[in-house]
Assembly symmetry: C2
Homo-oligomer: 384 residues x 2
């Protein structure tokens, strides 16, 4: 196996398209130059379409967790009550950040592999009117579960609480309508459906959120949204931005605009349907139920008697394919196949074809080609 | 379909590995510098192992046809008799070049899809003792046929004629032993099994060939091998070389040395076996018989009533996969799948998975997954 022949199918970092690599390889420009201002302005016009917002979207030089901390640091003051809707590892991380800023967090865990139950949210909001914020995850990367942000948003909008959404592994690949769905702060990061290397977080902020942010007294400097807003007025950034990633983001957004966001979303849904049909044809079962299946990543339960990490090891060492493993309580029990960002039909065929070989190599009674056929049938529209 | 998502499966140019792209992206160096001399020396040591020769191998800045013309221009004088062993389009091209230099060419065509018949060569050589050179093609790219260069070499070595071999789509992916097999001039090019973009030809020259080259009176300047040899003594080139491709060649040769040439050859043979098993499982037939099947490219007859170029069009437009079409008399009748250079198992799975979908889309009664399964069985060692 050639070392250079690698297929990265993890939920971030995801493969970077050649045209984005080319844009990132362009000469450096000064971040206080007119060239940078023009670049920043182009990005802003396009990323608002991805977020479906009329508000500013700030491009911050840190990874997704830095983006989530930015949301918390600007909203939460010590002693504030926060409702956390948890469906896996990243819901738990959002909660930890809120606690680090002194929030009194009311945690509701829906179980790993399950989505947020809106009736529970309704009950919580009715019984506790004092929430400063509600934390939700659009796409729970650790379980491949998609939560109903529109539904959560409609409930939270009836209260004074702000809705803070972790959209890290969803935005750019899964539909989100920040304004229409009443999302007050929406965070995403570069290395997932946005098709870039890691290093940028993007954060959209509603006018309702700004009222809270301006009054907030928590310590913040690098993560200051008011500083970011002041700089954006001149198409600037408060601190030195990752210029190469801005150049790449401009190109990645061009690709999205050319494809059309509705087509981008439909592509991800199609890939998820194909992966789910394929693993079922091999006798395996996706962790998430169909009604809450993530369009960008599919978690699959390892078959009885076979360790998920053994499958991943064969895939990586013999075929150069990398699937993600399970996190937390799911470690060793699931593997996760990403179809996120720069992903197409042939990635699914390749990934499933590899999975079949790995299962066969490990002695699992697999019908070779059966998973590929199921995916092909989805792509050919034969199973509808 | 995303424009950036492309799978190039043609017999040159072939995909370029990331480490080779990185090497080509290094800063330019002067071609009369010590850095270049060191680079040239490193390349020379490695490429002799690929050619299996103790002789000099010249790296020339032109494409494969320029390399073939270099061979002819330095050997053939007007009126010289030449025996051309033709098995397809590239055998014909070699012949045309010889004619352009005034050779009287004795053409023997074995038919498109067939290999060179050694008994015919033996007969020809016995009956015509005056050949200055014999022209042969190692791997006929247009038909996916591998010729027996060892066998041809043993026959030609018993005569005063030089054996000139077009190894363009073979060298680096298919075993060749220049010295042991009595090849006097061996030509290849960068964009095939050597894993580089087009732009370089490589040419190895035997001591027997040098005796003829030194006496040759045909006009030559850029293509002068004596000029190339004089420059190589100082690890130089006669004229400005493509420096970036030299940097890339250094990296590509490192990849080959790391994998080991025997492993490189075994990999190509394995991929060819898998492709042939796969297309047969779909009811299609390779053009070349098993005994002369090319390890680097497989030509496949289009099924009855289906145009090869219609299949290629669906593959390209709907899935981003490019197969090559037929050339000359085979235009529209075959398609050609390359598994050449930077190619691995998953490329075969992907290409066959795509072929199945294209055939289905065109109404051909294909069992989805059957070709993929046949390839998987080859890779898993289940069909031996």
């Amino acid at each position: 196996m050639m070392q250079d022949k690698q297929y990265l199918m993890i939920p971030g970092p995801t493969p970077v398209p050649p045209s984005v690599v080319a844009a990132m390889s362009r000469p450096m420009i000064g971040h206080r130059s007119e060239d940078f201002a023009a670049l920043h302005r182009r990005i802003q016009e396009k990323i608002r379409q991805v977020f479906q917002t009329k508000e500013d979207v700030f491009i911050l030089t840190n990874s997704g967790t830095g983006g989530l901390e930015t949301a918390i640091a600007n909203v939460v003051s010590p002693g504030d009550r926060v409702l956390a809707l948890i469906t896996g590892n990243f819901g738990e991380r959002f909660t930890k950040i809120a606690r680090a800023y002194g929030a009194e967090v009311d945690e509701v865990s829906f179980g790993w592999g399950k989505d947020v139950d809106l009736s529970v949210v309704r009950e919580k909001l009715a019984g506790n009117p004092g929430y400063k914020a509600v934390l939700a995850t659009q796409n729970e990367t650790s379980t491949g579960v998609l939560n109903d942000i529109a539904g959560i948003g409609a409930l939270v909008a009836e209260t004074p609480a702000l809705l803070l959404v972790d959209g890290v592994s969803g935005v750019g690949g899964i539909e989100i309508r920040m304004d229409e769905w009443h999302v007050d702060i929406l965070v995403t990061a570069s290395q997932k459906a946005m098709m870039l290397p890691p290093g940028l977080a993007m954060i959209g902020v509603s006018s309702r959120a700004w009222e809270v942010i301006e009054k907030n007294r928590a310590p913040r400097f690098y993560f200051s949204l008011p500083a970011a807003r002041k700089s954006l007025e001149k198409w600037n950034t408060a601190y030195t931005p990752n210029v190469a990633l801005f150049q790449g983001l401009d190109a990645a957004l061009d690709m999205m605009m050319n494809e059309g966001m509705e087509n981008v979303y439909a592509r991800h849904r199609l890939l998820a349907r194909a992966v789910r049909a394929a693993v079922r044809a091999l006798g395996l079962e996706p962790l998430a139920a169909d009604h809450c299946a993530s369009p960008t990543v599919t978690a699959v339960r390892s078959p009885e008697g076979l360790g998920a990490d053994d499958i991943r090891k064969v895939l990586k060492e013999e075929l150069g394919i990398t699937f993600a493993g399970g996190q937390g309580i799911l470690k060793g029990k699931i593997f996760r196949i990403a179809h996120m960002g720069f992903a197409g039909k042939m990635d699914v065929i390749l990934g499933i074809g590899g999975l079949e070989m790995a299962l066969a190599r490990l002695g699992y009674p697999v019908e070779l080609g059966a998973g590929v056929r199921a995916a092909q049938e989805v792509f050919l529209g034969r199973n509808e």
